[in-house]
Amino acid sequence: GESVGLHLPTLSVQEGDNSIINCAYSNSASDYFIWYKQESGKGPQFIIDIRSNMDKRQGQRVTVLLNKTVKHLSLQIAATQPGDSAVYFCAGSQFYFGTGTSLTVIP
């Protein structure tokens, strides 16, 4: 079956630095991947998505990279801010989520 997981359960970065959150998947049949951000007390919120035929997609301060060869994707956050502190999930098109990476931004 499909699995989507994250490399690190926690990540701490200094405010202003760039953050990189990684995710691995096992099912190559996923048509797309989505990154979600979950703040404390809230449900996951959509950040950015990428189709499986793309390698890179940029949003506002965020970039997602997809490496289909090694079945890996990453979320890069530029100039990390305290408001970026949250749990980040990657999900495939079959409604599978990873365990999440908890990002803490140190002021």
Binding site: G5, G43, F46, F97, G100
Partner: protein, 117 residues
């Protein structure tokens, strides 16, 4: 526009009791999903409704869980009888579509935290 709303936000029950969770999706969203996150673990898919029909219920853990979506609007998830391992946060999400990426973005509610003692 109202987002996905879930009720209650927190429920504490004893083992063996029954609990019913409710989800109101975004108006006009035919697709409704239930997920569960047990402490520290991944968000696990439970089931997916398209309107009032169950499109996929492969994630439902056992027959103690019953989900309904009468009329294709709000949905309920009943746990009867509740067991200790049912504790966790239950999320509901809705989307316009589920096959085309642009319409498949799921909007989540804040979740219901269920504590079974």
């Amino acid at each position: 526009e109202a987002g996905v709303t879930q009720f209650p936000s927190h429920s504490v029950i004893e083992k063996g009791q029954t609990v019913t969770l409710r989800c109101d999706p975004i108006s006009g969203h035919d697709n409704l999903y239930w997920y569960r996150r047990v402490m520290g673990k991944e968000i696990k898919f439970l089931l997916h409704f398209v309107k009032e029909s169950k499109q996929d219920e492969s994630g439902m853990p056992n027959n103690r869980f019953l989900a309904e979506r009468t009329g294709g609007t709000y949905s309920t998830l009943k746990v009867q009888p509740a067991e200790l391992e049912d504790s966790g946060v239950y999320f509901c999400a809705s989307s316009q579509g589920y096959t085309y990426l642009a319409k498949n973005i799921q909007y989540f509610g804040a979740g219901t935290r269920l504590s079974v003692l």
